[in-house]
């Protein structure tokens, strides 16, 4: 019996680690925001290989923690190659103990994907999209943030 419980626990633990990062299409992201119980979503587009993205990740983590009790959610959308999910993204998330929701973008046509996120996006990383589902706000930023800049941007659209 004890063995059985240990096995189940191990499976569950293994499952939760794997479940940390999934692939997500843009449609699924929009569904996630539309059906989620939060109203403000801060969606950061980043990659493990993008230096300025990695630098600003702690600000997004801090933002998510400080607003944990509010209808507020940070979603980290990685543009790492899908083939790097297990070798790069999951180890990165574990190493940096990232608590925010992390996904790897699951889109093949970047041209369409970039334009659908925002017409003005050149494709450079990092980039951030702030959504407010109540106020129907959709604000896009192609830049790296400091924590105070990020706070200011979020306050503007809350």
């Amino acid at each position: 019996m004890q063995k059985c419980i240990v096995t189940i626990l191990l499976i569950l633990a293994g499952h939760s680690v794997n479940a940390q990062v999934k692939l997500l299409t843009l449609n699924e992201l929009e569904q996630r925001a539309a059906k989620g119980k939060d109203t403000t979503y801060v969606v950061n587009f980043w990659a493990t290989w993008c230096g300025p993205c990695v630098e600003e990740l702690p600000y997004f983590e801090r933002l998510n923690n400080e607003n944990a009790k509010k209808p507020f959610k940070v979603i980290l959308m990685s543009l790492d190659f899908k083939s790097k999910l297990k070798t790069d993204v999951i180890p990165f998330v574990a190493k940096h103990k990232i608590k925010s929701e992390v996904y790897v973008v699951n889109e093949t046509d970047q041209q369409k994907f970039i334009d659908r996120v925002d017409k003005n996006w050149s494709g450079a990383l990092p980039a951030t999209l702030i959504l407010n589902t109540d106020k129907k706000v959709r604000a896009f930023y192609e830049q790296a943030f400091t924590y105070s800049e990020l706070l200011k941007a979020v306050e503007t659209h809350k």
Binding site: A47, W49, C50, G51, P52, L79, F81, K82, S83, T108, D109, Q110, Q111, K112, I114, D115, W121, S122, G123, A124, L125
Partner: protein
């Protein structure tokens, strides 16, 4: 007076913004004379029989650039003989990005057997002038009586991860159309890329 000042300020700001953006399709691109991995300098004019050029702003270190290395080499093999040589320019400062030193560029070119020129751009002069915003970022130029006209700006194709056999080969399509004497149907595209590793300003 205040209005005049504001107007002047606006003009100044507009020029500053334009300077930052770089070339648009239809602009005439400047020639350069930059050091290649073989130690010799290369300019656009040094390709005597060229009908145009595939200028690729890239680097050693960006995973997206690396994913495209064999495809850039394929473009070089395919189009150099047709009069559209590939000319690659490393955008990155070797101090800001230690994997992008001249020696590392030489190593990479040798290892991968690049048949195209791979040039240094000290102080990002031409990266800025052309307006490369990320790596890789391609500028297809057409040689005309007026000069080297920018015919296409953007991505190599719409399939970075080589997951789609039906991919749109943007650069190939643009060059094929130019070779037929047509204007490219699609003149600008976007793609995810790495930011350029700019030289750190020395604060005194």
């Amino acid at each position: 007076m205040k209005k005049l000042l504001l107007a002047c300020l606006n003009i100044l700001l507009a020029t500053a913004v334009n300077a930052q953006i770089g070339y648009q399709v239809g602009d005439l691109a400047s020639d350069f004379n930059l050091k290649n991995v073989d130690g010799k300098n290369v300019s656009l004019a040094s390709y005597k029989n060229a009908k145009g050029y595939i200028v690729v702003f890239t680097c050693n270190t960006c995973p997206v650039s690396k994913a495209y290395e064999t495809r850039v080499e394929a473009l070089s093999k395919m189009y150099a003989v047709k009069g559209y040589p590939v000319v690659a320019i490393n955008t990155n400062d070797p101090v800001a990005s230690p994997g992008d030193t001249y020696e590392k560029m030489q190593e990479r070119a040798k290892e991968k057997g690049f048949s195209f020129a791979y040039l240094l751009d000290p102080d990002h002069v031409y990266t800025k002038k052309y307006g490369a915003q990320r790596t890789p970022h391609v500028f297809v130029l057409q040689k005309t009586a007026k000069g080297n006209e920018v015919a296409y700006i953007g991505a190599i194709d719409n399939d970075q991860q080589e997951a789609n056999a039906q991919r749109d080969n943007y650069v190939q399509n643009a060059v094929n159309q130019l070779l037929k004497g047509e204007k490219p149907a699609l003149t600008s595209t976007k793609a995810i890329g790495c930011t350029i590793k700019w030289k750190k300003e020395v604060s005194k």
